[in-house]
């Protein structure tokens, strides 16, 4: 695994192990993704605590779609998500900054071809 990656750290604090919650009998944390309508991506919209997947789905409906905000919901245990390290943001993403040739606007073509 790249050093730029820290497992299980979205969106919690630095190295907050889920096990700590369990020891104290806290329900685990889940991330909720909602598809607002057919044809669109599921989008992260928040998190909640639930004892198991079924409960997480049901609570996600009650907490995040009270006004028809969704047609489909995904839930994922927060400790199952692997995230890039924000501390490494610059070294990780900045190399793309000088690769302007990856964008169509880099290429100057005759006016008659503008729509290509």
């Amino acid at each position: 695994m790249s050093p730029a990656v820290t497992p299980g750290t979205i969106p919690g604090p630095p190295a907050e192990p889920m096990a700590r919650g369990r020891e104290k009998n806290e329900w685990p944390l889940w991330e909720v993704f909602v598809r607002s309508k057919a044809g669109l991506d599921h989008k992260h919209c928040g998190s909640l605590h639930a004892a198991d997947p079924q409960m997480a789905i049901q609570l996600a409906r009650d907490v995040y779609t009270r006004r028809q905000e969704g047609t489909s919901v995904w839930v994922v245990r927060s400790d199952q998500i692997t995230a890039s390290d924000p501390g490494e943001k610059a070294s990780y993403f900045d190399p793309m900054e000088d690769k302007v040739y990856r964008h169509p606007t880099f290429y100057v073509l005759p006016k008659s071809l503008d729509h290509m």
Partner: protein, 336 residues
């Protein structure tokens, strides 16, 4: 919802600015300040000064507690709503408050506190919540007035928070503000119905509710700017955008006009339009009452907290059973 006691003049603070630790931290601090100045958002995993984190944990959790405790005064009237329509509306509103509390607890948890720690702070009386919920709801008109004045004050407070520098809080506030305007409108409409079609007794009931809730609503914006030394730091951090007194004035200006439409008076003999200032003038607020209520001596402080603690304790077996069931199902899946 309802922000407010947030800035309590340092009376519940333990985090006066301290000198930086390591040279690396000093460097990070400079970078952090630059990001704030540039109007950038801070995300959960970004480096942040310890005081920034603490201030946010306190403010967001107080805000969450206020949503949760705020269900109690209104819950009092669900079974006594005058019509099925009003009952359905009130149920939806109280359910929203629960949802708002959950968005905010989740935002606070991104700062490194657990949900149980947050509840523990509320239940032990260590954490504060908006003092407005320590007043009783004596009549049906109180439901309308809470929507109009209390939620109205909350919206004034919350709209600027949508641009708060801490992104998880700002995102929660965007969601909350979107849902909140229904709360104020339904309240005003309920009052307008009574003032337009109601009996004399019903009109008097509305006026009585306005008389009782007016001053506590003004207190929701927190102490005057001259007595809010911590506001400056919150402004610097982009957590607070508009001062307590400026928000309060904005609220009075809006409500004074709305009261005319409703046909009620506001219980302040000094309330009058000031041409020169282009604002409504209003009389002095009784801050002794405010600090009394914040300090635990309001009409319903003990009752509210006791109701929360009882609900939490009575639910303990459900939380344990759900976990036991989840563990059992997980084992069965592994065995299969």
């Amino acid at each position: 919802m309802y922000t407010q006691a947030m800035d309590t003049m340092g009376k519940d603070r333990d985090d006066a600015p301290r000198p930086h630790g390591s040279p690396e931290d000093a460097e990070r601090q400079v970078r952090f300040d630059e990001r704030i100045d540039a109007g950038e958002f801070i995300e959960a995993k970004d480096w942040m000064p310890e005081n920034y984190r603490k201030t946010l944990v306190r403010q967001i959790s107080q805000h969450a507690h206020s949503e949760i405790v705020g269900m109690l005064p209104e819950g009092n009237w669900i079974s006594r709503a005058p019509t099925l329509k009003r009952k359905a509306i009130l149920l939806a509103k109280v359910q929203d408050e629960a949802g708002h509390g959950l968005y905010l607890y989740a935002a606070a948890e991104t700062l490194g506190v657990s949900r149980d720690q947050l509840y523990e702070a509320l239940h032990s009386g260590k954490a504060k919540y908006s003092s407005i919920f320590n007043y009783p709801t004596l009549s049906w008109a109180d439901m309308g007035v809470i929507g109009w004045l209390v939620d109205g004050a909350a919206i004034m407070n919350q709209v600027p928070l949508c641009r708060c520098s801490y992104a998880p809080y700002a995102r929660a506030m965007v969601r909350i503000c979107r849902e909140e305007s229904f709360h104020q409108r339904q309240g005003f409409e309920a009052l307008l119905t009574m003032m337009t079609h109601g009996t004399e007794a019903q009109k008097e009931m509305v006026q009585d509710a306005v008389n009782r809730w007016w001053w506590p609503s003004l207190m929701m914006f927190g102490p005057p700017d001259s007595e809010s030394p911590n506001s400056e730091q919150s402004m610097r951090w982009g957590i607070k955008r508009i001062s307590n007194d400026d928000l309060r004035q904005k609220f009075v200006d809006a409500i004074a006009e709305q009261a005319k439409i409703l046909g009620v008076s506001l219980p302040d003999p000094e309330l009058r339009w000031n041409e020169a200032r282009d604002h409504w003038d209003f009389g002095p607020i009784d801050w002794r009452e405010f600090w009394q209520v914040v300090g635990g001596e309001g009409p319903c402080n003990r009752e509210r907290l006791a109701a929360r603690v009882k609900a939490w304790d009575d639910g303990a077996w459900v939380r344990e059973a759900a976990l036991a069931h989840a563990d059992k199902q997980a084992h069965l899946r592994e065995a299969a």
